[in-house]
Structures are given as structure tokens and as C-alpha cells.
Amino acid sequence: MVPLSWYLIFAAALFSIGLYGVLSRKNAVAILMGVELMLNAVNVNLLAFWRYLTFDKMAGQVFAVIVFAVAASEVAVGLALVISVYRRRQSIVADEINLLKY
């Protein structure tokens, strides 16, 4: 069987890529995609831990299901807000959404 650490390393890499995407991307949709990668990393972690450590309990699986349900609703709301910004500004580049500062 694949050792647990492989999954954890994979999840950590996925999380880091996602975080890098969130911090470096300027396009709002790309930022949301970065957040999705981070949440997927969480799910990989949760399921790996569940499978290897607490196979007899449900908590890990339930947690993972809840995480992707919430992720879906978060993205739905996120895209709605992105659209409402786009309608006002004709742009979804985070750098140009800079009315509120200082």
C-alpha cells in the first residue's frame, strides 16, 4: 500500500500551489480556483488520515463531505459577487478593484 506520507506530501504541495495562486494571481476567478485547490488539499488530507488512522470511525469522511459541500456554496456565492463587480466595472482583475483604500 502507498504509505500515508505520500498523500500528506501531495496534499501539502497542492495546498502550497493553491496558496501561491491565491496570493499571486490577479484575476478573481483564478484566485477562487486557488482557494479550491487549497480546499482539495484539505480533503486529500482528511481522507488519507481517515483511511489510515481512524478507519472504523466516520468523522473523517463526514468532514470531507461537508468540506466540499461548503466549498461548492462558497464558490457559487463567490462567482455571483464576481459577476456583480464585473457588471459595475467591466473588470475582474483584483488590482483594478481599488476604490476602497487607506
Binding site: A28, F49, K57, V67, V70, L81
Partner: protein, 484 residues
């Protein structure tokens, strides 16, 4: 849990949440049924419904001294959660009243529904005893708040506020969740109260826990707008509809603190010196940065945002004094602060409706245009500054007392110095209101009926809590004792 699957206690434990859910459904139906002209009444229905909910909860659903775990240990039915639930429902009721006379906000049923759903999430946050429940509750709170911040679709600032709040919120909650996933992996449990035993049993290295806790604290610091993650607050508060900004800065922040206290004190006593150290630094930085940046503000909503950041720093003083007095002072602070800051944002909302501006300079001559509104601003701003006889004084006193009791004299001194800086910018606003004249002095600022009621309740509350502090302090103590 023995016997049948369901028992009465389970439902009593979530009675406030059930009530809010029913109320939200009712408002949603009325939104469809009522004719357009009568939509103003929705604000009253929401507010009265929430107050009724508070009364019913106080009558039948007060938890006993002995805390109970219900719903498969997801929820802890205790007085800490109960005190916060009452507080959130009260805050939501006041916010509904402030919103009800704003045209694009208060006449729309979906606004109240979103606000109620986010209140429901906050109630669950306050009583969650399990990481899964906690995450779900935090998102139930946040997602409607993103929409509420961007509620004015026709307004550039409001859409931008919602957009920014969402991006920062989604990122920090994902980081927090990553911490939760490691917590689950390391301990094999998701229950906060079972966590400690597992940590001891597995003899986990404290360094691993430091790392995990750092992830988790990112999410919490965002919710309470503490130092490294405070920068969203001014942008979001100044863009969001004013009553919602008030709600964000009080109830949402209080919910963050409820979670912070429970998770750190109950879940991580093993590495207490570490997080006390970190949070002391965060507290000092939060107060100082909040107060210093507030000095330079021209817009009153941004000023209040920075002031609310600095208040998060004061609450953290009580938090790092890990003791019963500390917990009491945190809860007491949040109760009085909720009233004070809601009153401050409420007065701004009333004024903004007439003048269309939230620049501090536009408040000139307010004492002549509307003496009552000016007086209510005086009460709330002096209370924020920590002046006796208002509630703001006793709460500052109690957090500093908690710090001194634990020997954190330096921290208390920094807190006092910060309060003095705070006093300056609060008085600057009052100076504009009372001493400056303006050309529009003949134009009165009418206070709508609903706002009148809410402001009267809040201002009387601020004064009563400042003069007769003991009963309110005891409520804090009730909550604090239920923590363990």
C-alpha cells in the same frame, strides 16, 4: 446518550437556532405574499421575532450548571454558548431595526433572511464542541455576510466590499481548515473536548501543535480582525451597507471570540505558554495599529473600522489573562461593546440617509440639526473611548484588571496608553459634531421610528451597564464558568 435517539434536551439546546430558522422562513414567505408598500414591516417582524426568541429561550432553554453534549457531541449545551446566542439575537434585532428604513436594504425580504441565517451560524459557532460543526458554523456565518457586504448591487463601493470580503474570507478559512485537517490527523478525533486527552496520550510534540495552531489562528484572526489580518475591515466596513458594517464589527467579531476562547482554552491547554505569547503580541499590535491608523481617517466608517480593530486588541488583553476573571471580562466586554458599536454605526446610518455622506466633516453642526442624534453619538463615542459613566469604562477596567491579576502589568499599561490615543480621535469626531458650524444647519436630520427605538434601547443599555455593572458582569461570569 441512552434510550431513544431524540430527547427534549437536544431540541432545547438548539432552540434559538430553530427559532431563527422558522423566523427566516416566515420572512421569506411574507416577502412573497406582502404587497410592495408594506415591506417596511419586515424589519419589525424580524426584530420582534428575534426579541421573542430571546424571551422564549430565557424562559425554557436556559442550560443547567452542568454542561451537556448533544447531537452526537457536536454541540455543547452550556451557558457560555447561551449567553452568546442571546447576544447575537439581540444584535441582529437591532440591525434589522436600523436597516428597516433604508430603501434598498430594509424593503427586501432576502436581506433579513441572509442576516438571520448568518445569525444562526453565529449561534452554532458559540456552542460548537466539534471541529466539523465549528467549520460548518463559521461558513454558515460567513457566506451570507459576503453577500450582505455586497448587497447594494448598484453601488461600486458595496460590490467591491463584498468582493474583497469574499476573497480574504475564502482564503483564510481554507488555511484554517488545513489546520483542522492536521488536527484531525494528529489526534484522530474532531471533538474539542476529547482533543486534550488525545494530545497527552499520543505525546505529540509541541512543535507540531504550534504549526497546526498557526494555521487555525489565521482563520480566527480574520474573524476578529486581529493584527496581521485586520486590513480587510476598513475596506469592507466602509463599502458595506452601514447597518451591516455595524453587525460585522460586533456580532461577527463576538462570534469569533467565542470560538477563539473555546478552541484555545479547551483544546490547547498543553501549549498554553506558546499561544499566550503569540496572542499577547497580536493584542499589542492590534491595539496600536488600530488606534494609530484611526487617527488619520477622514471617513467615519473607516474610523469606526479601525476603532473596532483596536477594540479587538483590548478584548485580547482579557483573553491572554487565562483565568476565570479573564474569560468573564472577555464576555462582558463583548456584551457592552456590541451595544456601543451598534449604536455608533446606527447613528451613522441615520445621518448618512439624510446627508448621503459619511465624511467626518459632513457631521459639522449636527448638534444643531438634530440634538438627539448628536447626543446618541456622544454617548456611544464616549463609551467607545472608555469614559465613565458609560459601559465602555467598566469593560476596559475589567480587561485591565484581569491582566493585572495575572501579573501582565506591561500589557495593561500599553492598553491604557492606547485608550488615551483612542480618546483623541473619538473626541475629534465629537468636536466636529458639537463645535463646528455648517451651512445646512436649518436642515433637520429626521430619525426614523425604528431607528429611534433601537437607538434608545442601545443608549439606555450603555448607560445602565456603565452605572449598574454588577449584574452584567455576573452574566459574563456565568458564561466563563461554563467553559470547562
Amino acid at each position: 446518550m441512552s434510550g431513544s435517539v431524540f430527547n427534549v434536551t437536544m431540541f432545547l439546546a438548539i432552540l434559538p437556532e430553530l427559532w431563527i430558522f422558522v423566523l427566516a422562513s416566515l420572512v421569506l414567505i411574507l416577502d412573497l405574499v406582502l404587497p410592495k408598500e408594506q415591506h417596511r414591516v419586515l424589519g419589525w417582524i424580524t426584530a420582534v421575532g428575534l426579541i421573542l426568541g430571546i424571551l422564549i429561550s430565557l424562559l425554557v432553554a436556559v442550560p443547567s450548571e452542568q454542561a451537556q453534549f448533544v447531537w452526537g457531541d457536536l454541540i455543547r449545551f452550556d451557558r457560555l454558548g447561551f449567553v452568546f446566542k442571546i447576544l447575537f439575537m439581540f444584535g441582529a434585532a437591532m440591525t434589522a431595526l436600523f436597516s428597516s428604513n433604508l430603501e434598498k436594504l430594509g424593503q427586501r425580504g432576502d436581506f433579513y433572511v441572509l442576516m438571520l441565517v448568518s445569525t444562526l451560524g453565529m449561534c452554532l459557532m458559540a456552542s460548537a464542541a466539534d471541529v466539523i460543526m465549528l467549520y460548518l458554523a463559521i461558513e454558515t456565518t460567513s457566506i451570507p455576510l459576503y453577500v450582505l457586504a455586497g448587497f447594494y448591487k448598484e453601488d461600486n463601493k458595496s460590490t467591491e466590499a463584498g468582493f474583497k470580503y469574499l476573497l480574504f474570507g475564502a482564503m483564510t478559512s481554507a488555511i484554517m481548515l488545513f489546520g483542522f485537517s492536521y488536527l484531525f490527523g494528529l489526534t484522530g478525533t474532531t471533538n474539542l473536548y476529547a482533543l486534550v486527552n488525545q494530545v497527552v496520550q499520543h505525546q505529540l510534540s509541541p512543535f507540531v501543535l504550534y504549526g497546526v495552531l498557526a494555521f487555525i489562528l489565521v482563520g480566527f484572526a480574520f474573524k476578529i480582525s486581529a493584527f496581521p489580518l485586520h486590513f480587510w475591515a476598513p475596506d469592507v466596513y466602509s463599502g458595506a451597507p452601514t447597518p451591516i458594517a455595524g453587525y460585522l464589527s460586533t456580532a461577527s467579531k463576538a462570534a469569533g471570540f467565542a470560538v477563539l476562547v473555546r478552541v484555545l482554552w479547551v483544546g490547547f491547554p498543553e501549549i498554553q505558554p506558546y499561544w499566550v505569547y503569540v496572542m499577547t503580541g497580536v493584542s499589542i499590535a492590534t491595539m496600536t495599529i488600530g488606534n494609530l491608523l484611526a487617527l488619520a481617517q477622514k471617513d467615519i466608517k473607516r474610523l469606526l473600522a479601525y476603532s473596532s480593530i483596536s477594540h479587538a486588541g483590548y478584548v485580547l488583553i482579557g483573553f491572554v489573562a487565562v483565568s476565570e476573571l479573564g474569560a468573564t471580562s472577555v464576555i462582558f466586554y463583548l456584551i457592552v461593546y456590541l451595544l456601543t458599536n451598534l449604536a455608533a454605526f446606527g447613528t451613522v446610518a441615520v445621518f448618512e440617509k439624510t446627508s448621503g455622506s459619511s465624511e467626518i466633516a459632513s457631521f459639522a453642526g449636527l448638534s444643531r440639526r438634530s440634538p438627539w442624534l448628536a447626543m446618541m453619538m456622544l454617548v456611544s463615542f464616549l463609551s467607545l473611548a472608555g469614559m465613565p459613566p458609560f459601559g465602555g469604562f467598566v469593560i476596559k477596567f475589567s480587561v485591565f484588571a484581569a491582566a493585572v491579576q495575572r501579573g501582565l502589568i506591561g500589557l495593561a499599561v500599553i492598553g491604557v496608553l492606547n485608550s488615551i490615543v483612542g480618546l483623541y480621535y473619538y473626541l475629534t469626531v465629537l468636536k466636529v459634531i458639537y463645535l463646528y458650524r455648517s451651512e445646512e444647519e436649518q436642515v433637520a436630520v429626521p430619525i426614523p421610528q425604528a431607528s429611534k427605538v433601537a437607538l434608545a434601547v442601545l443608549c439606555i443599555g450603555i448607560i445602565v451597564m456603565g452605572v449598574i455593572a454588577a449584574p452584567w458582569f455576573d452574566i459574563g461570569a456565568l458564561g466563563a464558568r461554563a467553559l470547562w
